[in-house]
Subunit: 364 residues, 2 copies
């Protein structure tokens, strides 16, 4: 067994559904951490063709004396469908897994969303553990219990709220992450600063080069602060009746880009990056954000190597897909806008013209 | 609008998810009741080819000023699959229904289970209303929030807990119910007496002929008492961590019959009837039930016209399917047995020989 890693622990406080987020280098190889945080004897490890060769052996070695079945999915958002989850359910049934089985999501956000949704539906709910291996999953998608799949008509339209029993974020996995995936994850990190924490945003402005150079201490700080903000908000509003909607900053625009391009070509985080730029521009159009603040947002996204527009998406298509977003209420698209750096709000009160103009300025 | 019906109201107490069960003759035509209890403007009415011609027009007339889309499914348990629910989700997306849409289940247990599961998964959860039109659905499946579909490997293996916002049981619909469906519903009614209420069981012994003759006052009493017992138990143990498992009396055996016969040939309530007979016999084999009590159980099931054995199922197949039941814990099948009329308990502590012998005596 590898030597024990330095572990930071946060908690998502949800009464009897509370769970720990463990953050540290080498956790995937730490049998003691795995043993304590993965319940059950029968385990289904859901992973993909990219991640499996890198980490699935280490994970299995850290969980001796368990019955482990592995489901290796094709990589990519375009496979995040009900048909793929149906295959996972078939594997669970074929192996006669019971209600006391545990599903482990080993991979990025796509793997986590599908493994979690399978966990939500199998036998009306079994335990699952998130072991995120991308920056995006470590700072965002593995925390908070949103699970689900895409529908050709819209992003994440099918799914469930189902909290994991633990999130184990091994920061050492970021060493093997492609640059493009690292940048995609940084879009969500920038989001946390923007919605809630101006000081964190300023820290990102100062430390973006260290993050892109993958300095472990900088990455650890970004992950911890992101998870702290997410855990706080989810703890107060698990099912997104209010405050949690702030976490969708950039996502209504971003989901439209992903849907309009068939979940291919754009990484989720890249679409969120462009979506944040559009949300900032829309905030400016609505008079809530100053031009120099918009410039800071765009500059940070650009330094992170993220797109700030979607030149391969027609504006009309983007608007059409936005209308299918889950945040539509009584026919009106609800937007997350900015009053300042670190101060986001949700509103349905804006001029339709401003929205059309903003989308047109960022699309083809 | 038809004159207001006499309505009895029970409540399933689940804090912010509490909801009413309305029981009465003619509720389906009562615009005031429908208007008060069906939220939302956009409604998806899920029904089947048998029920739609009888009631869907009346329902639509009782809900003017709504946007109603109807999904008419093929009738029968063999269609209760993930593929059918996927079609319902397609209809919701195609009609651009948002999170504020409501799904209405108009039909029996199969329709209710699938409409509820679609409601659980669409946009991570939308409201649904149960309008049960069979006795079985009125006394059992429409109450309590269990939703889901069958898998070739087992009954209800895929699903979610998702409570309706209202249950509207129009007892007048029982007038059009085929005799065989009426009897199937009575199996669940008998179950409530057996698990919890000896006096109700005795009342059923005295009034079975009135029930079979569809005397409205007798049916109303049977439905009300059944719903009361179910509402109490669900209110105390929504997610079946304990007491709620008692409601599965006869169901582990029954589900095995349904699975082994491919969800065709047997109605769910018929399989539960045979399952109750087997549970009583198993209780006798375990020494907890007296022979004369077993005889009372069998006699009441027979008077209700229900099967008390499954001569078209091989014993080995039944046992095999029981092992995939959701109530299996750590590899052991948990059974609901009887200590007496009105006194059920859950146990994994029994002789395997007794189980094999009991199943063999009731199967081919």
């Amino acid at each position: 067994m590898a030597p024990a890693a330095v572990v930071e622990t946060l908690t998502v406080e949800l009464d009897e559904r509370s769970y720990p987020i463990l953050i540290g280098g080498g956790l995937l190889q730490d049998g003691a951490v795995l043993g304590r945080n993965v319940p059950g004897r029968d385990l289904l490890v859901v992973t993909n063709t990219t991640v499996a060769p890198l980490y699935s052996r280490a994970l299995a070695q850290g969980l001796p004396d368990r019955r482990i079945v592995e489901a290796v999915l094709p990589d990519g958002e375009s496979h995040k469908t009900l048909a793929t989850v149906s295959r996972l359910l078939d594997v669970l049934v074929a192996n006669r897994f019971g209600r006391d089985a545990t599903i482990i999501a080993l991979g990025g956000g796509v793997v986590g969303d599908m493994a979690g949704f399978a966990g939500a539906c199998y036998q009306r709910g079994v335990a699952y553990v998130q072991i995120p291996t991308t920056l995006l999953a470590q700072v965002d998608s593995s925390v908070g219990g949103k699970t689900g799949v895409n529908h050709p008509g819209g992003k994440n339209l099918i799914g469930a709220f189902h909290q994991p029993v633990a999130v184990i974020a091994d920061t050492a996995t970021l060493a093997t992450l492609p640059d493009r995936e690292l940048r995609a994850g940084l879009a969500e990190v920038v989001k946390y600063g923007l919605i809630r924490d101006a000081a964190f945003f300023a820290w990102l402005e100062e430390n973006m080069d260290r993050l892109l150079a993958r300095e472990p201490s900088a990455l650890a700080k970004a992950i911890r602060r992101s998870c702290e903000i997410k855990a706080e908000i989810v703890g107060r509003d698990e099912r997104e009746h209010g405050e949690r909607a702030l976490l969708n900053l950039g996502h209504t625009f971003g989901h439209a880009i992903e849907s309009a391009t068939g979940y291919a070509g754009w990484l989720h985080g890249e679409a969120v990056g462009a979506g944040i730029a559009m949300a900032a521009a829309m905030s400016r159009a609505c008079g809530t954000l100053q031009p120099e603040q918009v410039a800071r947002v765009r500059a940070l996204l650009e330094r992170a190597g993220l797109p700030t527009a979607a030149s391969d998406v027609r504006a009309a298509a983007a608007l059409e897909h936005m209308r299918m977003d889950k945040k539509v209420k009584a026919g009106r698209i609800r937007l997350v806008l900015l009053r300042g750096i670190g101060d986001a709000f949700v509103t349905g009160d804006y001029a339709d013209d401003a929205l059309r103009t903003t989308v047109a300025a960022h699309c083809a």
